[in-house]
Amino acid sequence: MNWVRVFRTVRSEDMSEEYINKKIVVKDATKIFGKNSNRAIQLLKDGKTKSEILKATGATVGVKQVSFEVNEGEIFVIMGLSGSGKSTLVRLLNRLIDPTMGQILLDGKDIVQMNKEQLRDVRRKKIGMVFQNFALFPHKTIVENTEYGLEIQGVSKKERNEKAIESLRLVGLAGYEDQYPKQLSGGMQQRVGLARALANNPDILLMDEAFSALDPLIRKDMQNELLQLHHDMQKTIIFITHDLDEALRIGDRIALMKDGEIVQIGSPEEILMSPSNDYVERFVEDVDLSKVLTAGHIMKKADTVKVDRGPRVALRLMKHLGISSIYVVDNANRLLGAVTAQDTVEAIESEKSLNDVIISDLPMISPDTVLTELFDVVSTASIPVAVINEERKLQGIIIRGALIGALSGDNEFINKDGTMDSAAQPITEVI
């Protein structure tokens, strides 16, 4: 696939500036299971592989010298197949598993160095966790489950009840307070798990394969709701999954793990468009591009005319460009509609303005729309579909040819980073 190779340039970031916002910094974190861990560490530092170390010492390397940083308010996805060490890695972050080596800084404080009380305090106030199999307490009601984190902190009955009910409302479970976990469906149980983690109001949410046990439809709903919650609350979320689609859907950045190591960290796009090695490439080759690429990726420059230029200019532009319709924008480049060549000719003959013949009832989409949702619109539209932003400013247009070209994986039709720098420049300014 040639699109994989062309965009291999990864955007370099200004580290010094971004360092201030780092919520979590993991340096060289390593977990070795079994005895002989000292010897295993030595071998690890000598650059031996996981299987060599297992052979020499009998110790299993769960997580191998992993380093990464997570920004405040970001959804950071750790993805990998089973046995890749992702679940171990997430447990290092709140020390459910003690790292054998390395540093884990939360807001600059190394939790590896903390004593029991400090660690307990971090777990109570700073980190919430959601588990794959929900891990709800079967002997407690939904509201008691949700209150648990506050209860063990000694928060008064009234206050924790209020917070728990609010938290349940956030996940859409108001009214289920007095039921028991067994009485709820899997999706609802995981909402309780999420509510329980949110009730403490932690900065960081660890989600260990939180949606993996749910069926696909419920899973998608939960992903959407998580994104909505994240948008509203701006928590830093570490999300573990083995599902690439899930990772691409919700991750701001993705770390791909293999054999206890991180093979690549990057935005979903970087992972897809520029895999750092064969493993990542194989991992992503079956991705359905139509679910990943957005309108922003395939839109082309739009030919527009400003409404006050009048029908004659519009007609001349169409002739010049060899097209049969043109988009009309106002002075702030906001999309008003489109006019066809035929209507423009009539307007000139009857001395009307462009406003009188404008077709404002056009299909319009946002740049974030994924291609799967585009097919329907594009196939039924008589003119290219307009891509606009929240302010109704015209970003570009979608032509059928580009849509099909992009799906075939042809890089010629794909804009890097899903933006098109020159798209906002109306061609009329040039002429």
Binding site: R91, N94, L96, L119, R120, D121, V122, R123, R124, K125, I127, G128, M129, F131, Q132, N133, A135, L136, F137, P138, H139, Y148, G149, E151, I152, Q153, Y180, K182, Q183, R196, N200, L206
Partner: protein
Amino acid sequence: MDELLPRLPFADWIDTGVDWLVDKFGTGLDGFADVLEGAVEGTVDILNLVPSILLAFIFALIAGIISTRKIAFFSLIGLLFIDYLGYWYPMLQMLTLVLTSVIFALVIGIPIGILSSQKAGVRKVVNPILDLMQTMPAFVYLIPAIFFFNIGVVPGVVASVIFAMPPTIRLTMLGIQQVPKDLIEATEAFGSTTWQRLFRIQIPLAKPTIMAGVNQSIMLSLSMVVIASMVGAPGLGEEVYRSVTQLKTGVGVETGLSIVIVAIILDRITQYAGNRKKKLGGNTL
């Protein structure tokens, strides 16, 4: 062989050890024995003040509150039958002895069970001791018990406690260890202390298993009453023992049946108490 490996006088050593212990602690234990004996006999006397039929109704009522109406009805009929046979007073003696033993077994056994569930080291020590307690013929406990406490109620209680305690310890341990790992992780992830984890999550979830242990302890304690009567513990067991020595089959069957009735009542009530929450949809794992 005899010359090569001289027989070690284990029995003598143990006798000497027990003698030494009796010498050292015997007088201190006398006080404890007196209090215990007074308490048991006092309880029996107080219960005996209540007319038997009224007491049978009270017991049935308690059974009804804890468990079901059906069990309450069976309790009433069974107790009235024992009264009709004329074994009411020995039944009260036995019941008090059994319940006293069980209370001791639980008070000592549950904490040991909890502790062993938490510490692998404790488990390594406790497990072989439990094996010993369960397999050693129960009569053997009686011998030193007589040295320490003389004959009567107290050696009977002590022997019953030792014999009845292992299931409570084992099942408490098992119940706590069986709490799923992800629930333990969840309590840890929210920053629970060890006590919070134990008392808010593990023990409540282990309750059905612990109750099964309690049930077993009661049954074992009941099975000890006949043996305990050999050192002078009063009650239905004493009647059974007498019927055996005098070869009175009829009395043997009557008293034996009375023990069975009490056993069934106690068993059904405690079984129900252990499983009760399941019916509310709450306490299952």
